[in-house]
Symmetry: C2
C-alpha cells in the first residue's frame, strides 16, 4: 500500500536507511575485531533482527523474557537477557533453556546468584559490571565481583564472563568525551575479566556496548562482543549526541493535519504522545526538538518545524522560535507529515506494527510485539 493511504498515525521504517545503519555498525564491530550482538529491544521486530543477522550479527540481546520467547520462536537461538535476573523469572528462563534456547542471563548480586543456583540448572550467566555509575552492576574492583563469580562457578552455573553498558554516553555530545567513555567502558570491563581470571574463574566473554560508545571506540582490546540497539533506527537524541545525522533516522511517525490555530502559527496533527511517546530526551540536549522534528511525506525536514506540544492524540506542530502565520495555507487539513522521534525505542513501542518503505515500492507491514 502507498504510504499516503495508510491510516494515521502509523510507524514508518525507511528500509534503505535502516540497512545502511545495520551495515555501518556491523562494519564497525568487524573493524574493532569483536562480534556484534544487536539489542532487539529497539525494534522488537523479527524482520528487522533477521536483517541484522544476515549482515553478520552473532546472536541477539533482549530486555525481556517475552522478547527472548518471541525471537526464539522465530529462530533466534543465541539470546542474552541483559537485565538482572529476578528470582521470580527463573522458571520462565528455565522453560526457554529446556526448549533449546541458548539463553544467557545476567546477575549482579550474590542473592540473585544463589537464586539461580537453587534451580539446580546449569544456566549460562554473565556478571553485570558497572562502568559508569549510571545504573546497575558490580564495581570492577569490588571484592563482590569475585564473590559472585565464585558463588556462580562453585554452584554449578556456567560463568561465561562479564557484561557492561555505558548508558551515560547518552548524556555526552563531543567525540572526545565519547571516546573517553568508550575507553572507560572497555578498560573497566576488561579489568573485571582479568580479576575473575586471576581468581581462577572462567571469563571467556567480555561484552560491552551502547550505540554512542560502540561508534566512538578507538580500540576494543580485550573485549569479545559489542551490544548496541538504537543504531538500527537512530533518533534525534543520537543526532544530538553526534553519532548520526538527521538523514540517518529510519523511524518516523506518519501523521495527518486535522486543524489549525492560524494566529498562533499552529497546525494540529493526529499524532500526540500516544504515537510519539512521552520521551523528551532532547529537552536537555543541544537542540530541543519538542516531541519530534517535522518532515514532509517524502521524509525531507521542514525547516524549523517541530512538534512543540502533545496531548494524547493531538500534536501541535509549529516553528521553533518565530511564528508561522501561513501554516494553514502551507499545511492544509489532510496534509500528511512524517515526524522524526526523540527516542526510537520509546516511539516504536507505541505501535504494534511498522510499515517498511523503500522508495516508491508499496509499504510492507512488519509486526512488532510488546509486553513482558
Amino acid at each position: 500500500m502507498d504510504i499516503s493511504r495508510l491510516q494515521t498515525p502509523a510507524a514508518l521504517i525507511d528500509e534503505p536507511r535502516m540497512m545502511c545503519n545495520i551495515a555501518r555498525m556491523q562494519q564497525r564491530a568487524s573493524a574493532l575485531g569483536v562480534s556484534l550482538r544487536p539489542h532487539v529491544k529497539t525494534s522488537k521486530c523479527v524482520e528487522v533482527a533477521r536483517r541484522q543477522q544476515a549482515a553478520g550479527a552473532s546472536g541477539i540481546t533482549v530486555s525481556t523474557l517475552k522478547e527472548a520467547e518471541q525471537f526464539f520462536d522465530a529462530g533466534f537461538a543465541d539470546v542474552l537477557y541483559a537485565v538482572g535476573m529476578a528470582p521470580s523469572k527463573l522458571d520462565r528462563a528455565l522453560a526457554l533453556r529446556r526448549r533449546g534456547c541458548a539463553l544467557t542471563i545476567a546477575v549482579d548480586s550474590v542473592a540473585a546468584a544463589q537464586a539461580v543456583i537453587a534451580t539446580g540448572h546449569a544456566f549460562d550467566a554473565l556478571i553485570e559490571v558497572d562502568c559508569d555509575g549510571h545504573r546497575s552492576g558490580v564495581q570492577p574492583d569490588d571484592s563482590l565481583l569475585i564473590e559472585i563469580g565464585r558463588t556462580l562457578h562453585d554452584g554449578g552455573v556456567i560463568l561465561k564472563g562479564v557484561m557492561t553498558h555505558a548508558g551515560s554516553s547518552y548524556d555526552l555530545d563531543t567525540p572526545e568525551a565519547l571516546q573517553r567513555l568508550a575507553e572507560q567502558e572497555r578498560s573497566r570491563s576488561v579489568r573485571a575479566a582479568q580479576r575473575l581470571r586471576a581468581a581462577g574463574l572462567p571469563c571467556p566473554v567480555v561484552s560491552v556496548g551502547s550505540t554512542p560508545t560502540a561508534l566512538s571506540a578507538e580500540n576494543l582490546a580485550g573485549v569479545t562482543e559489542l551490544r548496541a540497539g538504537v543504531y538500527v533506527f537512530f533518533d534525534l537524541v543520537m543526532a544530538n549526541v553526534g553519532v548520526c545525522g538527521l538523514d540517518n533516522l529510519a523511524l518516523s511517525v506518519l501523521t495527518t493535519v486535522i486543524g489549525h490555530q492560524p494566529e498562533k502559527g499552529w497546525a494540529i496533527v493526529d499524532a500526540g504522545w500516544m504515537a510519539m511517546s512521552r520521551d523528551r530526551g532532547t529537552q536537555r540536549q543541544k537542540i530541543d526538538y519538542g516531541y519530534g522534528a517535522v518532515c514532509d511525506l517524502a521524509g525531507a525536514p521542514l525547516d524549523g518545524l517541530i512538534m512543540t506540544g502533545a496531548n494524547q492524540e493531538h500534536g501541535i506542530v509549529s516553528r521553533r522560535g518565530t511564528a508561522d502565520p501561513d501554516i494553514a495555507q502551507r499545511l492544509p487539513v489532510g496534509t500528511q507529515l512524517r515526524i522524526l522521534p526523540n527516542h526510537a525505542c520509546a516511539t516504536g513501542t507505541q505501535f504494534s506494527e511498522y510499515h517498511a518503505v523503500s522508495g516508491a515500492r508499496p509499504a510492507q507491514q512488519w509486526r512488532r510485539f510488546d509486553g513482558w
Copy 2:
C-alpha cells in the same frame, strides 16, 4: 491469582478505589444537573467502562476510531469521537455509523466540515470550541464558528452542538484557579452555543470537561454534558493538581527488586520507562515524583521513596533528597513493590492487560487494547 505470583512488571487496578472514583464523578455530574460521558481513552478497557455505565454514565467519549470500534463491538452504541475529524478517517467513521453506532464526530474548520459533507452521509457532529487556548477548537466569538455551523447544517450534517476541553487545568493547583477555569470553560462553551442558536442553528448539546474542572465547577448552567477520563484511576499529576489524594490512586505498576547500588541508596527494579511510560508530568508540579511513588505490595506508600530514574526495563528506586543506606536490607532482591504513576493514561497504555485486585480476592485479568 494472588498478585505476589504475577510476572512483573504488571498493571494493577485497585477495584474498590476505582469504584469510589467512578461514584464520585457520577455524583458530581448528577449534582450539577448534567449527564456524564466518560472518556475511555484512560482505561481502553471494556470492564472499566461497563462499571462507569452501570454507575449512570450516558455514552462514552473516545480518542481514536479503534476505541470506537472496540467499544461498539462490546455494546457501547453512543460514542463521541472527540478528536478533530481527519478527512482520511471518514470512511471508517461511516462504516461504524452504517453498523448502527451512534457515532458523533468533531470538527473545528470549514475544510473538515466540507470533507464531512462530501461523504453525502448525515453525520452527527459537534463543533470544537477553544476555551483556554491550550490546543484546538474555534474561538467562541469568532465568525468562523457560525461559518462552520452553517456549512455543516446547510450541507445536511446534523449539528448537535459544541464541545470544549479545558486541558490547561492540568497546569493549575489551587481550588480558586480551578474554579475560575471551570467557569471559563462553562461560559465560553455556553457563549458559543448561544451564538449558534442566535444564528438560527441548532445546538442541543453543550459538552465540557476535564477531570480537574469537572471536580471544581460550582455550577454548569447551560451545559448538558460532562466529559472526563483520568478520574477513573487518578494519578500523581491529579494529586498535585489537588483533586484527589494518593489513597485515591487506583492504578499502580507491580515490580520486583532485581539489584542494588547500596552505597548510593538505590534499589534497581524491573519496571523502567517501558512499564511506567516516559511521562514526567509531575516534574514541574509541587511535588516531583520522578517516574512514580513507591508503595509496598499492599499499596501503602513507602515514605520518601520514588523512582528517581528509569531506563527501558530498569527503574532506580531511592529516597528523595537524603540517601537510604539500608535499602538493600529493607528491600532485598525479590521484593515486590507497587509504583503509583505520574499519568494513568500514559502508564496504562504500556500494558495489554490489567489485573484488577480487591482485598484478598484473586486478581482478575482485564484486557486493554491500544493502537489506532
